[in-house]
């Protein structure tokens, strides 16, 4: 039975059209997925449903829930529906909870605000519902604060808050995007179980086709504020009538053409490296306990090799990266590039430093917005004893921009004029400009939409054959690493548990943890006829 029915919904915010006539039905007891790239309007559809749109919005059409049009319902009645009939789970569990209130108080609040039961009963229900989402009260008492929980546990608390009153509709907006694959798998299982047990309807919003392919009953593909294709998930994925669906699917499992591996002399050598962090003192005058984030790590990267480093958050991969880049000293062992140590006499070794560059994850936060592109990408020049000036500098800028698929004229523009994908190209140009021996890509494609990601991976592959690049590609995502590396290292709890050629690892993972990672990663179904998809340009 249809629980929620959206008909011809349009939305404009301060006059800018966001949704252009969306229609969809969400039946009870089923999972309805909305997928598409950022800016397609999927989150706005959810916010319109729960009545939390940003200011300056104008809507037309109807959203019918329980016989009432939610768009015309007065705010007091919407407040009554939210949390009781319609629950919502958001993307970022680290910030979705109030840091100064206990988890018990926050779960109980959902119950008490609707005066659903007296406080003592509400407390009992809070315990029940937390246990139900996998946080049993003996290990996770109500008195815990959010900062004492991990990301996955916090997301469980958010889900507990949303389902405490057994709502008939649950909206989940990218509920697992910020989580590790193994945690993601658990949260997805939890959501599926809740839908099955309570017969509730789930509106599931995600950019990741693989996540919904084996869980959603119905799939709606959105683009530029419209639903371009909708239907039962299996059917949509099998037939892919709309070219955009096809393009998304293709891009999701895109394999860059990396070319043959060249492995020459060793370039980077990491020997018995350990990295400790001091922990807070347990007593005032005792010695400070240490946390060993990287434990006795050994590996080599040869010139021309493309190596992946995979692990979940907190496994030590970022710590290891900072040590390799010479940003922090190590407590044991040595890291050398071309035979020279990256850290010498309690200083980063500048002669080595200029042979390495890094590309970071966030294409929005890693540029100074007040500088022009020419200045941004020439920043590494300060590492050189004699940086190029005048015409030589302009030539270097033009070459770097051309190499990443931009135009030399772009040098005079500011960073806000570029999209996320273009910014990541600029970040790569910044790394390339001093022709480094080694580039570290630190989650460099994790924040990008699938199609943009596919383009950037292709760019890396091309650059790698054109310039003979050596790089270390760090990611939490196995599927990305697969297409872009010759060799993969899997890291867990500060140790490298597996280090083998990429093809071998994916064919037969040795370590149980590698297998766990692979099983947890959501898979796209294989439909052979998609192979001959038409070439699309965007």
């Amino acid at each position: 039975m249809t629980l929620l029915s959206i008909e011809n919904l349009t939305l404009a915010i301060h006059g800018t059209p966001i949704l252009k006539g969306i229609s969809l039905d969400i039946p009870e007891g089923e999972i309805t997925a909305l997928t598409g790239e950022s800016g397609s309007g999927k989150s706005m559809t959810a916010l319109a449903t729960i009545g939390l749109l940003p200011k300056g919005e104008t809507t037309t059409g109807t959203i019918t829930f329980d016989g009432a049009n939610l768009l015309f319902l007065p705010e007091s009645q919407m407040c009554d529906l939210r949390g009781r009939e319609i629950g919502m789970v958001f993307q970022e569990p680290m910030t979705a909870l109030n840091p100064v209130q206990t988890i018990g108080a926050q779960v109980m609040e959902t119950i008490l605000i609707h005066k659903a039961m007296p406080p003592d009963k509400a407390e009992e229900r809070a315990r029940e519902v937390l246990a139900r989402v996998g946080l049993p009260p003996d290990r996770f008492p109500l008195s815990r604060y959010p900062h004492e929980l991990s990301g996955g546990q916090r997301q469980r608390v958010v889900i507990a808050m949303a389902i405490a009153l057994r709502p008939r509709l649950l909206i989940a907006d990218e509920p697992t995007t910020a989580l590790d694959v193994t945690t993601q798998a658990q949260i997805l299982d939890l959501l599926k179980r809740l839908v099955k047990e309570d017969g509730m309807a789930l509106m599931m919003i995600t950019h990741d086709l693989a996540v919904v392919s084996d869980m959603a009953d119905t799939l709606n593909v959105m683009r530029h504020g419209e639903i371009v294709e909708a239907g039962p998930t299996v059917e949509v994925l099998r037939e892919m009538r709309h070219p955009y669906t096809r393009a998304l699917f293709e891009a999701s499992r895109h394999q860059a053409d990396l070319g043959d591996a060249k492995a020459d002399a060793p370039l980077l050598s990491v020997q018995n490296v350990s990295r400790d962090y001091p922990l807070p003192r347990s007593s005032l005058f005792g010695t400070r306990p240490q946390f060993r984030a990287v434990k006795n790590v050994n590996f080599e990267i040869r010139r021309g090799e493309r190596v992946g480093l995979v692990g979940e958050s907190g496994c030590g991969k970022s710590t290891l990266t900072r040590a390799i880049l010479g940003l922090e000293p190590v407590q044991a062992g040595q890291i050398t590039l071309d035979g020279d140590p990256v850290w010498q006499d309690s200083h980063p070794n500048l002669t080595v430093r200029r042979k390495m560059q890094v590309v970071f994850q966030d294409p929005y936060g890693s540029f100074n917005p007040r500088h022009r592109v020419s200045r941004l990408i020439t920043e590494p020049f300060h590492l050189l004893p004699d940086p190029p000036r005048g015409a030589a500098r302009d030539a270097a800028i033009a070459e770097a921009l051309t190499a990443v698929g931009l135009k030399p004229e772009d040098a005079e523009r500011h960073i806000h004029a570029f999209s996320g994908g273009q910014r990541q190209r600029i970040a790569i140009a910044r790394a390339l400009i001093i022709k480094p021996e080694l580039i570290v890509f630190d989650e460099a494609v994790s924040a990008l939409d699938v199609r943009v990601r596919a383009q950037i991976l292709d760019l890396m592959a091309n650059l790698s054959s054109a310039y003979g690049l050596t790089y270390l590609f760090i990611s939490h995502d196995l599927s990305v690493v697969r297409s872009i590396t010759d060799r993969v290292m899997v890291m867990r709890a500060g140790e490298i548990v597996e280090d083998r050629p990429t093809a071998d690892i994916f064919a037969s993972p040795d370590h149980p943890y590698t297998r766990e990672l692979m099983n947890a990663a959501p898979q796209l179904p294989d439909f052979p006829e998609v192979q001959d998809a038409p070439h699309l340009t965007f």
Partner: protein, 315 residues
């Protein structure tokens, strides 16, 4: 939590020691010999020397520093060079004016700023918000001595509700004292309230944009309920910082207002002491003010921990 307090206490003690050294050194460097200043320009050299011995100025610097500090620890702040009375007595008399005045002004400023800031933040961009932010601009811009004179003109001279200045002393009754401090406290509180309102407003607006506020709305809280239950406590940290700074300022920085209202407060005492080279008074009052500032900061740190559980577990 205990570790947190202990750590704060240790840093409090270190700050006090460093401050005492700095104050002593700075006052030593300042030109002007108290003994010759007290005796005037026609004094005989041997009279000056005798007075220097009497005041203890001929001892080594280290001895003088140590006797100054150990004296303060036992409550003996020395004897004023000019008035020949114990400094501790002078400070105590003035403290009974300055401390109530500072607390009075701070209470007023907080009572104005909290509702005004919350009101403005809840109506961001609306007419109420514009009115409040406009008023705070004015409050920051108006010099408080001018505002004080206007208060005197209106409430003391025209309406005759309050006296124009002076302080009757607490022994004449609590309300009489409070009445005498009311106009000065309002004059002091106005710019502080304006600043605090702005901090409260912007801090709340930051919090209103947080993800957990949206989560609260999704649970069914109205925007007002979300603001009161989840916004306010989170917005309090920057506000507490400003309140701490303001208290320290009000305690010592009321000198102009004390002058306008003829109040015998700490600000006037230190001003007179400086013009008369009464170094021992200057040192002691400054040290006392530093002590007050550091203690207030310590209390603010404790308040942080009370507000934010994340600080309690970090030691």
């Amino acid at each position: 939590m205990l570790g947190y307090i202990l750590k704060r206490l240790i840093s409090l003690a270190i700050s006090l020691i460093v401050a005492s050294v700095v104050i002593f050194v700075v006052v030593e460097i300042a030109p002007g010999d108290p003994a010759s200043f007290m005796l005037g320009i026609n004094a005989q050299p041997d009279t000056v020397a005798a007075l220097r011995t009497e005041l203890g100025l001929d001892q080594s610097k280290l001895d003088r520093y140590l006797s100054w500090v150990s004296g303060m620890l036992t409550g003996d702040f020395g004897t004023s060079y000019t008035y020949r009375t114990p400094v501790s007595q002078m400070i105590a008399d003035r403290m009974w004016v300055s401390l109530p005045l500072a607390l009075y002004a701070l209470t007023l400023s907080t009572l104005i700023a909290f509702p005004a800031g919350i009101f403005a933040a809840a109506r961001r961009g609306g007419a109420g918000d514009l009115a409040v932010t406009g008023a705070t601009q004015l409050g920051v811009a108006i010099p408080n001595f001018w505002f004080a004179m206007m208060l005197v003109l209106i409430f003391a001279i025209n309406l005759r509700w309050f006296s124009a200045g002076g302080f009757p002393g607490w022994d004449k009754g609590f309300w009489g004292g409070m009445k005498a401090l009311t106009l000065p406290a309002i004059a002091l509180a106005l710019p502080q309230a304006a600043i605090l309102t702005r901090v409260m407003r912007s801090s709340l607006l930051d919090i209103l944009g947080e993800d957990f506020m949206r989560t609260a709305r999704a649970k069914g809280l109205s925007s007002r309920q979300a603001l009161w239950r989840h916004g306010l406590r989170n917005a309090l940290i920057p506000v507490l910082t400003i309140i701490g700074l303001q208290f320290a300022f009000l305690l010592a920085g009321a000198i102009i207002i004390e002058q306008v209202f003829f109040l015998p407060g700490l600000g006037r005492l230190i001003f007179q002491a400086i013009t008369q080279r009464d170094l021992i008074v200057v040192e002691s009052v400054v040290m006392l003010l530093v002590f007050a500032v550091i203690v207030v900061n310590f209390l603010v740190d404790l308040a942080y921990a009370a507000v934010d559980p994340r600080l309690r577990t970090r030691t």
